[in-house]
C-alpha cells in the first residue's frame, strides 16, 4: 500500500436521514400522514423547477403539475423524450406477485438491500418496494404496452439476481416505453399550461437564497443566453455520472454538472465511488469508440458464459469442445450460475481475462453462448425473446449470434452514488430535492437489474408529490425573485467560466481530455481498485486538470450552438469530480458491491465488507477548489435485516 494519504477532515455538518420511527412497513404511511400539506388552492402560488426530464424528472414534473403547482422543466436534449432513461432495456421490478412464486414487498425490499451489499437506508428501500406496485398500475393506465400473456394478463420474467419472476417488460424497450409514458403525461401538462418546458437548456448552477435552493442558472444551448430562473423549490433529476469514465453505456450528453454544481454550493455528495459495471456489454472495438453498448442482462437467462480453459486457445469458439470450455459462473456459483448479480458477474469476467483467457481483440471479452438454449428451445423461441438484441449485436459487430457466441465485456453502466438526500429526497440544502439516479438513496453499493426504472418512477410519481409539500408548506410562495443579488452573483460566475473556457485557445480538444480522464478512471477506479492506484489516479487527475485549464481548445462563440463549449464545461466538472470519486474509493477500506478494493477480499476472491467500520454513507462536503473535501457520515442502522456476507453460491 502506498504511503501517501489524503487528509480527510470530518465535516461539521450532521446528516439526518429523517427516516420515520415505527415498524418498517408502516413508516411510509405514517410519514405521509405526518407530512404537512399545501392547501389545494394555494398550490398554484408555488413554482417548482425540475431539472431533467427522464423517468424521475418527467414523472415529477407531470405529477406536481397535476397537483396544481407551476412547474418549469429543463432538459439539455432537443426534447424531453430523449432522456437516457429511454435506453433501459430489460424491465422494471414490482412486488406484484402475479406469478404466485413467493414474491412480496418485503422480499423485494430484502433483495434490494442485500443486492446493494447493505449500504442503503432500510426505510427508503422498503418505500421503494411498496411504490413498485403502484408504478405498474399507473403505467398501465397511461397506456404503456407491457408484455402480456395469451390470457391478457401481464407477463413477467426473472431478472439478474432475483429468484422470483417480478420483472415487467415491454419487449427490449422497457425504459423507452416507461419514459414515453411519463413524457405523455408531461406533454398533457405542457398543453394544459401547467408545465413550461425548456428543452436545449442546460443547468449550469443552482442559486441559494438565505441557504435555501431557490433557483437555477441555465445556458440556452441555441442562443447561448445565460439566464436565471427563480422558484420555491428545485428538483434535480439529472441522472448519473458514468461518463466520468468516458466510455460507458451512458448517452453522450450525460454529465455530472448539475449535481456537481449543487455540491459546490453546499450539497453533500454521497458514495461517489459506488459505480456499477454491467457485465453484458459489447466489447470495445477500437480507440475511436465513443460509447459502449449494453445488451440487456436478460440475455443471461438463456445464454451461458464461458471462456476457453487454456490461455493459448486459438480455435474459433465453435471448434472448442465442451471439455476445453470453462463455464466459470456455473462453476463458481452453482446455485445462481449465469444469473449472479452484476458486480459479481463483471468481476468474474475481469478475473478470467486477467488470467489471459479472455477472447476477441486484446483478450478483453468472454463468450455468451446460446447454442444450448437454441437446441433445447428452438431458434424461434430465442428469437422471440431476444431478437432485437441479437439484431443489435449483429449490426454492431457484423457477427451472427445465432451461430457464433456473442462476445461480451463489462462496461460502466450506472452510478449508485449521488447527492445525499434524506427520507424526503431533500438534500442537506433546504429546498433542493434530488431524484432518480442523481441521488444516492436506494441501491447501496450495487443496484439490482430492473431496479433503476423502479426507483426513478417511484421518486417522481409517488414520493416527491408528497414530500415536496412538506417543505413548501413551511415556505412563503414567491420568496425569491431573479432580481435577488444571489442570482446576479451566480450568473456572473457562470458567465466568467464560459468566457474562460472560450479564451484559453490551447491545443487539445475537450474530447481528448475526456478520453484521458476516462483512461485514468477505468484503469485505477474501475472494476478493481487499490489504495496506491487511487493515490496515483488523484495525482494524474490533478495534473490533467491543470493542463485542461491551460491548454483546452474551445472554438467558436458563446452566443450560438457550440457543442465544443458544452462538452468542455462538462469535462471540466468531471475533472474535479473524478478526484472526489477516487478519494471516496481510497477512503473506503473495504470491498462492497460495485466497489472492489483488491486489498479487501476473501480467499476465494469475493468482496470482503467491513460492517463495523464502514456501515455508513460517506457524504462529501465541498471545502474549496483543489482541497480534499470533508466527510460527513450518515450511519446506517439495520433494524430489520441481518447483515450477512452476500453469497450466491
Amino acid at each position: 500500500m502506498s504511503g501517501a494519504t489524503f487528509d480527510i477532515a470530518a465535516s461539521d455538518t450532521t446528516l439526518e436521514g429523517k427516516a420515520p420511527a415505527g415498524p418498517l412497513a408502516e413508516k411510509w404511511s405514517k410519514h405521509k400522514f405526518d407530512l404537512k400539506l399545501v392547501n389545494p388552492a394555494n398550490k398554484r402560488r408555488y413554482r417548482v423547477i425540475v431539472v431533467g426530464s427522464g423517468l424521475a424528472g418527467a414523472a415529477a414534473a407531470s405529477s406536481l403539475a397535476e397537483l396544481g403547482y407551476n412547474v418549469d422543466c429543463f432538459c439539455f436534449q432537443d426534447s424531453p423524450r430523449r432522456a437516457h432513461s429511454i435506453a433501459a432495456q430489460g424491465g422494471i421490478n414490482a412486488a406484484k406477485n402475479y406469478q404466485n412464486d413467493g414474491d412480496s414487498i418485503y422480499r423485494l425490499f430484502y433483495d434490494t438491500i442485500k443486492g446493494g451489499d447493505f449500504r442503503a437506508r432500510e426505510a427508503n428501500v422498503h418505500r421503494l418496494a411498496e411504490c413498485s406496485v403502484d408504478i405498474i398500475d399507473h403505467c398501465t393506465a397511461l397506456g404503456v404496452p407491457f408484455a402480456r400473456e395469451y390470457g391478457g394478463q401481464l407477463a413477467n420474467r426473472s431478472f439478474g439476481g432475483a429468484q422470483v419472476s417480478r420483472t415487467f417488460y415491454a419487449r427490449g424497450q422497457t425504459g423507452q416505453q416507461l419514459l414515453l409514458g411519463a413524457y405523455s403525461s408531461l406533454s398533457r401538462m405542457i398543453e394544459a399550461g401547467r408545465v413550461k418546458m425548456h428543452a436545449r437548456t442546460e443547468m449550469l448552477d443552482v442559486v441559494l437564497v438565505s441557504g435555501h435552493a431557490k433557483g437555477i442558472v441555465t445556458r440556452d444551448l441555441v442562443s447561448g443566453e445565460i439566464k436565471s430562473w427563480a422558484a420555491d423549490a428545485v428538483v434535480l433529476a439529472t441522472g448519473g455520472y458514468g461518463n466520468v469514465f468516458y466510455l460507458s453505456t451512458n448517452a453522450q450528453g450525460c454529465n455530472v454538472t448539475a449535481t456537481y454544481r449543487a455540491y459546490k454550493r453546499g450539497a453533500a455528495f454521497a458514495n461517489p465511488c459506488f459505480t456499477q459495471i454491467h457485465p453484458t456489454c459489447i466489447p470495445v472495438h477500437g480507440d475511436q469508440q465513443s460509447k459502449l453498448t449494453l445488451m440487456s442482462e436478460s440475455l443471461r437467462n438463456d445464454g451461458r458464459i464461458w471462456v476457453p480453459k487454456a490461455k493459448s486457445e486459438t480455435r474459433a469458439p465453435g471448434q472448442i469442445p465442451e471439455a476445453d470450455r470453462d463455464y466459470y459462473l456455473e462453476r463458481r456459483y452453482p446455485s445462481f450460475g449465469n444469473l449472479v448479480p452484476r458486480d459479481i458477474a463483471s468481476r468474474a469476467a475481469k478475473a478470467v481475462c486477467d488470467e489471459g483467457r479472455g477472447v476477441g481483440p486484446g483478450g478483453l471479452g468472454v463468450y455468451l453462448d446460446f447454442a444450448k438454449a437454441i437446441s433445447e428451445k428452438g431458434k424461434r423461441d430465442i428469437e422471440g425473446k431476444y431478437g432485437n438484441l441479437f439484431d443489435m449485436y449483429a449490426k454492431i459487430t457484423a457477427e451472427d449470434p445465432y451461430t457464433t457466441p456473442m462476445r461480451i465485456y463489462p462496461a460502466v453502466h450506472y452510478t449508485m452514488g449521488g447527492l445525499w438526500v434524506d427520507y424526503n429526497l431533500m438534500s442537506n440544502v433546504p429546498g433542493l430535492f434530488v431524484l432518480g439516479e442523481a441521488n444516492f438513496s436506494d441501491h447501496g453499493a450495487n443496484r439490482l437489474g430492473a431496479s433503476a426504472l423502479m426507483q426513478g418512477l417511484s421518486d417522481g410519481y409517488f414520493v416527491i408529490p408528497y414530500t415536496i409539500g412538506g417543505y413548501l408548506a413551511g415556505e412563503k410562495p414567491g420568496k425569491a425573485t431573479i432580481e435577488d443579488a444571489a442570482f446576479g452573483d451566480v450568473v456572473a460566475t457562470v458567465k466568467s467560466r464560459t468566457h474562460k473556457l472560450l479564451s484559453i485557445q490551447g491545443r487539445k480538444s475537450p474530447r481528448q481530455f475526456h478520453k484521458a480522464l476516462g483512461q485514468i478512471m477505468w484503469e485505477r477506479c474501475g472494476m478493481a481498485r487499490n489504495a496506491a492506484g487511487l493515490v496515483k489516479a488523484v495525482d494524474d487527475i490533478r495534473a490533467l486538470r491543470a493542463e485542461f485549464w491551460e491548454n483546452v481548445k474551445v472554438l467558436g462563440e458563446g452566443n450560438s450552438i457550440n457543442t465544443s463549449l458544452e462538452m468542455a464545461g462538462r469535462v471540466a466538472d468531471f475533472l474535479e469530480f473524478g478526484e472526489m470519486m477516487c478519494i471516496d474509493a481510497w477512503h473506503r477500506n473495504e470491498s462492497c458491491g460495485g466497489h472492489f478494493r483488491e486489498e479487501f477480499q476473501t480467499e476465494e476472491g469475493e468482496a470482503k465488507r467491513d460492517d463495523d467500520t464502514f456501515a455508513y454513507v460517506a457524504a462529501w462536503m465541498y471545502r474549496g477548489d483543489g482541497k480534499v473535501p470533508s466527510l460527513a457520515k450518515e450511519t446506517l442502522a439495520f433494524e430489520n435485516v441481518k447483515l450477512s456476507q452476500r453469497s450466491y453460491k
Binding site: D134, G143, Y150, E191, M392, L555, S560, I561
Partner: protein, 255 residues
C-alpha cells in the same frame, strides 16, 4: 469484427451558421476510418481534425448512440439515416461504405423542422403533436390494478409495434411531401389498441391530425417512403387506423 483496413472518404456536408444563414455544402476528407466505427464516430474524427485546424466543428444532434433516443438524424446519400433497414445513423457502421466513397450529408428538410445549425434541426413541432393528444388523460394515483383489465396479447403486441417509435423524424425527412403522418399515427395506433386509450380515441386522432396540418407538415399521398425509412419499422397499418379514427371523429361524428 471485420478485418477490413481503414478507409478514406470524401464528405459533402451541409454547413449553416444559424437559422437565418443561407448555408451550403463544404467538402471534407475523412481519413483512416475503421469499418467498425459508427457513422457518428466517423464525424467525431472529422471534428477533432477540424478543431485541430482551428475550424468550427460540424454540429449534429446525437445522444444515446444506441438507436433508441431518436436524437440523431442526418440525411445520408439521399436517405434518412442512410436508408439501411431498421438502422439509425448512430448504429450505421462504416463497414457499409468503401474506401474512396463520396458521402453527402444533409439535415432533415421540412418547414416544421427548421435548421438551427449545420445538421441540427428543431424538432419541437413533434413535441407539440404529442401535446395535442398523444396521451391517456389520467393523473398519478388511483389507477386500478394493472391486471384488472386483461389485454389480449395480440392487441398488446400491435400497440407495442406502434409504440416503438423513437420520434427521430426520419418519416418526415423521407416523405416526398414532408408529412408527419407515420409519427402521429404511431401514437394514435398505440393507444387505440389499448382499452386505456379507448375513451379518447376519436378526440385524439382529431386533435393530433389537426395539429399536424397546423404545424405545416405535408399531406400523405401513400408513397410509404416513411415506412421504408423508419428505423423502428413502424408499419403503414398505423396510418390507416388513424384515418379511420379521424373520419369517425370528424365527418361521421354524431353530435
Amino acid at each position: 469484427m471485420s478485418s477490413q483496413k481503414s478507409m478514406n472518404l470524401t464528405l459533402q456536408v451541409w454547413r449553416q451558421k444559424s437559422k437565418r444563414d443561407a448555408g451550403g455544402f463544404t467538402t471534407y476528407q475523412a481519413k483512416g476510418i475503421s469499418p467498425d466505427q459508427s457513422f457518428l464516430e466517423m464525424l467525431d474524427v472529422v471534428n477533432e481534425e477540424l478543431i485541430a485546424k482551428g475550424e468550427d466543428p460540424i454540429a449534429f444532434d446525437h445522444d444515446c448512440r444506441e438507436g433508441i433516443c431518436g436524437m440523431c438524424s442526418l440525411y445520408i446519400n439521399g436517405a434518412p439515416h442512410g436508408g439501411f433497414p431498421g438502422t439509425t445513423t448512430c448504429q450505421l457502421h462504416m463497414r457499409h461504405f468503401k474506401d474512396g466513397d463520396e458521402i453527402t450529408i444533409e439535415p432533415w428538410r421540412a418547414k416544421p423542422f427548421p435548421v438551427l445549425k449545420d445538421l441540427i434541426v428543431d424538432r419541437t413541432s413533434f413535441d407539440r403533436l404529442v401535446q395535442a393528444g398523444g396521451y391517456v388523460s389520467v393523473n398519478t394515483g388511483g389507477a386500478p390494478d394493472a391486471n384488472a383489465v386483461p389485454i389480449p396479447k395480440k392487441e398488446a403486441d400491435l400497440a407495442m409495434d406502434a409504440a416503438s417509435c423513437i420520434g427521430c423524424g426520419a418519416c418526415v425527412a423521407a416523405c416526398p411531401n414532408a408529412s408527419a403522418m407515420l409519427f402521429v399515427s404511431a401514437k394514435i395506433s398505440q393507444l387505440r389498441h389499448l382499452p386505456q386509450g379507448e375513451a379518447e380515441r376519436k378526440k385524439r386522432a382529431l386533435n393530433m391530425l389537426t395539429r399536424a396540418d397546423k404545424e405545416g407538415f405535408g399531406a400523405c399521398r401513400n408513397h410509404f417512403e416513411c415506412e421504408a425509412a423508419c428505423p423502428k419499422d413502424i408499419p403503414r397499418r398505423v396510418m390507416a387506423e388513424a384515418y379511420r379514427d379521424f373520419i369517425e371523429a370528424s365527418a361521421l361524428r354524431e353530435e
